[in-house]
């Protein structure tokens, strides 16, 4: 029925099956939307946040999706600026994933504030000293850039291509995409960094605070670096998952291998820096503020924030995937590659988790105890909401847009096809 919309030279599942899939994911989406409206109407009391946990699941989700959406800017940087031409075969998907991630982040941010109807004050009454202002500006700008990058992709749709204006627009936009890629990379460097700065500048929070250069704490650079490292890993991970879901090979191995190799080296350098940072923080920064490393990891209920979490983040989800990814033999093994990118992605998520959640759980006043927090269903639903939205957008994009240039070649149609 919708065959007129489906790109040439590729096979798609029957519309009925597609719609059932969309309906299932749509139900989850609807659940999130209900929770979202509940929160808009009743306020943030619908969450399990409290005065000690002003930042919680949502801020973590924001930081995590933006880190993972970093695949878009970094792949763009490699493709358009550095000139890694093979990456043109995955750049579309990287942009799409980035678009999903960033739009999700904006959506969550819009839910997360107590007064969403005047959230625009962040622009109007901007405080230049605040990392969040920097985040808001760069994030919004970069989202516009991503939209600009995604638009020509949408215009590639067969039906839209028939409109001359759209065809020309798409063509011209492709032509100047390097400019946007450069802008995106520049903006990303700052907002990824300023997200790192969010906890890094909090000198009242010894767990999060880091020294640095000028106004930028070390976490500023670490976040950008880790986004550049783990973003591509997430792109690979989602590509692999898409391939599994569609039971098709969509991107050639050499493309994935190149991206994985670069990500591996990025991750290895990042994790080295992270280890140095951790050691310096544990040995110098925190003690100067009157805290020892173990203050941050012991005596908490159920050892939710024991030293294990540091080992998991830096070791299992940091050093291990980095070493795996730089090894060509591991990269050639699809299962090991999958495991490595998964670990790297988890590592980024875990890093964002501790920098936000653990930062607030740690008692700072000596007479206080650890603070605990478990999200409410409304928080979980609204956090899953963008995931469902992302899946739907990806599903539609995959179905109707030529996201994967290599798909027709890798999956030749049986007899002449369409």
């Amino acid at each position: 029925m919708d065959s007129a919309l489906i790109p040439k030279g590729v096979e798609r599942c029957p519309l009925g099956r597609f719609l059932v899939f969309i309906a299932v994911v749509g139900a989850v989406l609807l659940w999130g939307v209900v929770a979202m409206f509940l929160i808009y109407i009743k306020g943030l009391n619908q969450t399990n946040m409290n005065n000690a946990y002003g930042f919680a699941l949502w801020i973590w989700a924001d930081l995590a999706v933006i880190a993972l959406g970093g695949g878009a800017f970094f792949t763009g940087l490699l493709r358009y600026i550095i000139g890694k031409d093979e990456l043109k075969n995955i750049i579309n998907y990287a942009v799409l994933i980035g678009f999903v991630c960033y739009s999700s982040a904006l959506l969550i941010l819009a839910i997360d504030v107590g007064q969403p109807l005047r959230a625009w004050f962040i622009f109007w009454h901007a405080n230049v000293h605040s990392m969040l202002t920097e985040v808001a500006f760069c994030l919004t700008c970069y989202f516009i850039v991503l939209t600009i990058e995604y638009v020509p992709l949408m215009l590639e749709n067969r039906q839209l291509q028939r409109v001359t204006f759209f065809r020309h627009l798409a063509h011209n936009m492709h032509g100047i995409m390097a400019v946007f890629a450069a802008t995106g990379a520049f903006l990303s460097f700052f907002h990824q960094g300023s997200l790192g700065g969010v906890s890094g500048v909090l000198y009242g929070r010894p767990f999060g605070f880091r020294s640095g250069i000028g106004i930028w704490p070390w976490t500023f650079f670490l976040y950008t670096w880790s986004a550049a490292a783990c973003g591509p890993c997430f792109t690979i991970l989602v590509t692999r998952i898409t391939e599994m879901a569609t039971r098709k090979k969509l991107v050639k191995d050499n493309v994935i291998d190149l991206l994985a190799k670069i990500a591996g080296w990025m991750l290895l350098t990042y994790i080295t820096a992270k280890i140095v940072d951790t050691v310096y923080w544990a040995a110098v920064t925190a003690p100067a503020m009157g805290f020892t490393l173990l203050d941050f990891y012991t005596n908490n209920p159920g050892s939710a924030y024991g030293l294990w979490i540091l080992i998991a983040e830096v070791g299992i989800c940091g050093v291990l995937p980095a070493l795996m990814l730089v090894s060509a033999s591991v990269r050639r093994n699809p299962r090991l590659l999958f495991l490595a990118v998964l670990l790297a992605v988890l590592g980024a998520c875990l890093n964002r988790w501790v920098m936000i959640l653990q930062m607030q759980a740690v008692p700072v006043l000596p007479f206080e105890k650890w603070f605990t927090y478990l999200p409410s269903w409304q928080e979980i639903a609204t956090t899953i909401l963008p995931v469902a939205y992302g899946i739907i957008l990806i599903a539609f994009s995959y179905r109707y847009l030529p996201i994967f240039p290599q798909e027709p070649e890798l999956n030749p149609l049986p007899e002449g096809g369409r």
């Binding site: 005065n51 504030v113 007064q115 962040i122 009242g204 700072v364 006043l365």
Partner: protein, 261 residues
């Protein structure tokens, strides 16, 4: 008239005198239109600008000792007014006033991102998780000098800024630019039945707060009086709320500076 000199309003709380009665909390609630809810037992969901902590020496019976520590906003000066919360607010809804040393909060500007709450190590910043609701008739007791905060914004102790403004207005009407020590006092200071709270200008050697604390103003206001300490001195937040005690264990329980040097 001369331009008035900058003030550094601050407070010293005598922990040996504080009885933990809660009069400061209630006086603050009445002065500053603090809302109350059916269930306010979870203090992490409750708005109270002043909170009285209970400190314990951690020893077993019968050697256990307790101390009460009232905690208003610490009005941190940080370095040059960069208090932990002020610098992070993305919408300039909170500010460090160089003329008074008071950290202000503009409720109608705040859009509830709560970054300042994450930034404050003292938990003085609290969020209005609910709409403030007064039972019928009780809104008559609201103080018109202090605006009622809507749901979804952060609020905190203002050192009763409205009382400062009222006092200043009166002084101006009388042709004065300077306030005397007793003209501007916070509600908690005034209410404290134990006389445990002393409030005034740390810059002014004639004020009791200065005389007790003997602040080293060149070094972030570090107390020179050995019996006086600040919460989390080593963070460099440079609070303007000081605590006075003769008991060593209270000093140790109140700040990690001593035990870890």
């Amino acid at each position: 008239m001369d331009q008035p000199k900058n003030k550094r309003y601050g407070m010293v709380i005598d922990l040996d005198k504080c009885t933990g009665c809660g009069a400061c909390m209630v006086a603050c609630m009445a002065e500053n239109n603090i809302p109350f809810r059916d269930d306010d037992t979870d203090k992490l969901l409750s708005v109270s600008w002043m909170h009285v902590y209970r400190l314990s020496n951690g020893k077993p019976f019968p050697h256990a000792e307790e101390c009460f520590l009232p905690r208003p906003c610490q009005h941190c000066e940080g370095e040059h007014g960069h208090s932990p919360c002020v610098s992070v607010c993305p919408a300039t809804a909170t500010d460090y006033d160089m003329h008074t040393g008071i950290v202000s909060q503009i409720y109608t500007r705040c859009f509830g991102c709560r970054y300042c709450m994450a930034a404050c190590p003292y938990h003085v910043r609290q969020f209005n998780w609910w709409d403030p609701v007064w039972p019928e008739g009780m809104e008559r007791a609201l103080n018109p000098d202090v605006s009622v905060r809507m749901r979804g914004v952060v609020e905190k102790c203002s050192f009763c800024y409205s009382r400062y403004q009222t006092a200043l207005n009166r002084a101006y009407l009388e042709g004065r630019r300077e306030l005397s020590e007793e003209e501007y006092q916070t509600a908690c200071t005034q209410a404290c039945p134990a006389g445990a709270i002393v409030f005034g200008d740390l810059n002014n050697p004639a004020h009791r707060v200065h005389q007790i604390v003997k602040p080293d103003l060149a070094h972030g206001g570090r107390p020179r009086n050995p019996k006086v300490f600040r919460l989390l001195e080593r963070l460099g937040t440079h609070p303007k709320v000081y605590y006075l005690t003769r008991r060593d264990w209270v000093r140790r329980a109140g700040d990690n500076e001593i035990q870890k040097t």
